[in-house]
């Protein structure tokens, strides 16, 4: 059996192609069913997000990835030529490495983002529920999820700000600790202010106050954020209670000056306040940051934070790649043992058959022998076969665990005349009887 992945992502395909080949979550069970019906496809799973559509499958032969491409073409009713150039295909350990990289977040558009991990999990759950996965894909996806978690705990790949909103949350956390129970005041009814407040609300600062010169706009935004609106001339009173203030008005003059802020700080009993000034021109006079317990960050500071985080995450990619490489090696070794098992089993059956047929052939000539002598002859035959096959079988097991074991196993198949397809049909990967295979070899010697 062979593991293959065929797919495209934001690096290889423009959005016009990606959106056409995406499979909405609701359609996944049906699509998987159709895929399973394809000849030679033993296991399959479809990962479809806005940045990628990938089909993972276990097939009888490597060339069967063509079947998958044909499936994509048929399923979406698109000619192959229209998307074929955007596809990537990975086989064997390359496919493993690919999924592990995807789960770890280093194949994402926003390196290190966390959403992909739940998307991989979701794709696997749907495939699992529709019985599209068996031993190999089950293990592969479970490993991928653990690689994703490892990458995020052992490296800083998903640390730091991905956007202005994330940056605001990160800074707020390092000032206040937990954000639950914190109040955010939004000055202005712009899109950016609303988005940043939403980020903070999701992180726990659920209480939101909106102030805008046009009160009705403030009410609109407040309704969207589940907060309340206040008139713009009462912002100083509101700031006495708020912990986080987002400045996003279109005002050409600062709406908050140093002396006003000093007064507000006295009202606040010096409780720390976090001012996020994302307005251009700025809403808060820069001198405000000279005050103690006032933490003022403007749009440039936040942009710098995002860029710095991006740069730091880029540096972490190498560490994540090490994790991915290590886990890929482990998984590939597991897969190789899986492939040695059916081969050994088949070989053993063939030799047993051969012994039986030879015995049948000569049993007439040996009719004069006593039962005891007959038994001795059979024992000699058995012993000879065991002695001859001992070292090849041990070697096959060794090959299976070595780095280029895949090719060596192919050589072994050729030498003993065991066809791949034959092995596939006879062996259910990970099934109960194949697992007894390698242990068998030891027992009979």
């Amino acid at each position: 059996m062979h593991l293959v992945v065929v797919g495209l992502n934001h690096k290889t395909a423009p959005v016009e192609i990606r959106e056409k080949l995406a499979v909405p979550e609701g359609n996944l069970p049906k699509a998987l069913e159709a895929l399973r019906a394809c000849h030679w496809v033993a296991e399959c799973c479809i990962l479809s997000t806005c940045n990628r559509t990938e089909i993972y499958a276990v097939t009888a032969r490597h060339e069967d990835e063509e079947v998958l491409i044909q499936f994509v073409s048929d399923y979406h009713g698109m000619p192959r030529a229209s998307f074929q150039d955007h596809l990537y295909r990975h086989r064997g350990h390359k496919a493993v490495e690919h999924l592990f990289s995807v789960a770890a977040g280093i194949d994402s558009m926003m390196v290190g983002e966390n959403q992909i991990l739940s998307q991989v999990k979701n794709a696997f759950c749907i495939a699992d529920e529709s019985d599209s996965t068996k031993a190999i894909l089950n293990n592969l996806f479970q490993q991928a999820l653990s690689v994703g978690k490892r990458a995020r705990t052992e490296t800083d790949i998903s640390r730091g700000a991905f956007s202005i909103g994330y940056g605001a949350v990160e800074l707020a956390r390092s000032i206040f600790g937990s954000l639950s129970g914190r109040t955010t005041l939004v000055l202005g009814a712009g899109k950016m202010g609303e988005l940043t407040a939403k980020h903070l609300a999701r992180a726990g600062a659920a209480s939101v106050i909106v102030a805008n010169r046009t009160f009705s706009r403030a009410e609109e935004v407040a309704a969207k954020l589940g907060g309340r609106a206040v008139p713009f001339d009462s912002i100083h009173e509101a700031m006495a209670h708020a912990d986080i203030v987002i400045g996003s008005t279109g005002s050409s003059e600062p709406v908050l000056k140093r002396e006003e802020m000093a007064k507000i700080m006295r009202l606040r009993h010096d409780r720390p306040i976090f001012l996020i000034d994302i307005a251009v021109p700025r809403d808060v006079e820069p001198a405000v940051s000279e005050l103690e317990n006032v933490f003022l960050y403007d749009i440039d500071d936040l942009e710098a934070l995002v860029q710095q985080s991006n740069a730091e995450r880029q540096k972490e990619i190498e560490k994540v790649q090490e994790v991915v490489a290590e886990e890929t090696r482990k998984f590939a070794a597991w897969m190789r043992t899986l492939e040695a098992v059916p081969l050994i089993k088949l070989l053993r059956e063939r030799l047993d058959d051969l012994q039986d047929s030879e015995w049948q052939r000569y049993s007439g000539k040996l009719a004069h022998l006593s039962e005891k002598d007959k038994e001795t002859v059979r024992a000699i035959m058995q012993s000879l076969v065991n002695k001859i096959t001992h070292s090849p079988l041990v070697k096959i097991k060794e090959y299976a665990a070595s780095s280029n074991g895949y090719e060596k196993l192919d050589v072994a198949r050729e030498l003993f005349g065991v066809e791949v397809a034959e092995a596939e049909e006879n062996a259910e990967p990970g099934g109960p009887d194949t697992s007894a295979g390698p242990a068998d070899v030891e027992d009979r010697q």
Binding site: D156, I175, F176, G177, D270, P272
Partner: protein, 260 residues
């Protein structure tokens, strides 16, 4: 056996200190948990020694080395409590080295010969209360240092490296205040029992005016800090500097002690 326990706990605390400090600068999986394991091992060894001392003679913490040993034990104990409640392993990067310093000082003072000083129950309470308040102020000092560092990083917008591993500003601010607020009544109790104890044993002891002045000053510093905090909500940079000054004064007052 007790000196072996002492040495082993010193080694464990030292390991914990190095690991906690490393944890502030480099990100490695489990670094903080290795550090905590070392701290717990050291603390367990210290506790065994402490119990052994108490069982061996009825008046523990009677002389200088014992009191300092108790201080290092109490600091470690408090740090572990803070770790469990507030999940702030960063604080260990300062609390553990301070516990190491206290423990190393035990070697500096030989046990006082003759009758232990603190045979009077007044002086026994005095030592326990003072040492406990000292441990609380030490932890408050750790919080204050982290507050000042984090405050500086946030103000200057230097958000690299250590920034992410430091505890949140308000958390350490509140924790420092809480520790000082618990330590203050203990300090008061310690000073009062100390004076009464010396009065009761007037024949043998006398109190130096310098020491009394230093103790009064320490008490005054914390009293003003706590009063300002509870009335005007005083906090921030200067308030945290006061916590550092207070802890240094406590150390100074203790250093002025002559135990025998």
């Amino acid at each position: 056996m007790t000196s072996a326990l002492l040495g082993a706990s010193l080694v464990a605390y030292f390991a914990a200190s190095v690991l906690y400090l490393a944890n502030l600068h480099i990100k490695r999986r489990y670094l903080a948990s290795y550090a905590t394991t070392a701290a717990v091992v050291g603390f367990t060894l210290q506790t065994i020694r402490l119990v052994a001392q108490i069982l061996a003679h009825a008046t523990p913490f009677a002389d200088a080395p014992e009191a300092i040993f108790f201080l290092s034990w109490a600091t470690a104990a408090l740090y572990l409590v803070v770790l469990v409640w507030f999940r702030l392993p960063a604080v260990g990067a300062l609390a553990m080295p301070l516990a190491v310093v206290a423990l190393a000082l035990v070697y500096r003072f030989p046990p006082a010969p003759g009758e232990p000083l603190a045979s009077d129950s007044w002086l026994r309470i005095h030592i326990v209360a003072i040492v406990a308040s000292f441990a609380l102020f030490t932890l408050a000092l750790c919080c204050a240092v982290f507050y000042l560092v984090q405050n500086k990083l946030l103000k200057s917008k230097k958000l690299r490296g250590m920034f992410r591993r430091l505890p949140p500003l308000e958390t350490v601010d509140a924790l420092g205040h809480m520790l000082a607020a618990i330590g203050f009544p203990l300090l008061t109790l310690g000073i009062v029992t100390g004076i009464v104890g010396v009065e009761m044993a007037k024949l043998r002891l006398q109190i130096s005016s310098v020491k009394l002045f230093a103790a009064g000053l320490t008490w005054g510093v914390y009293a003003i800090y706590l009063l300002a905090h509870s009335t005007t909500g005083w906090r921030g940079k200067r308030a945290n500097w006061v916590l550092i000054v207070g802890a240094l004064l406590t150390a100074l007052t203790t250093a002025l002690h002559r135990f025998a």
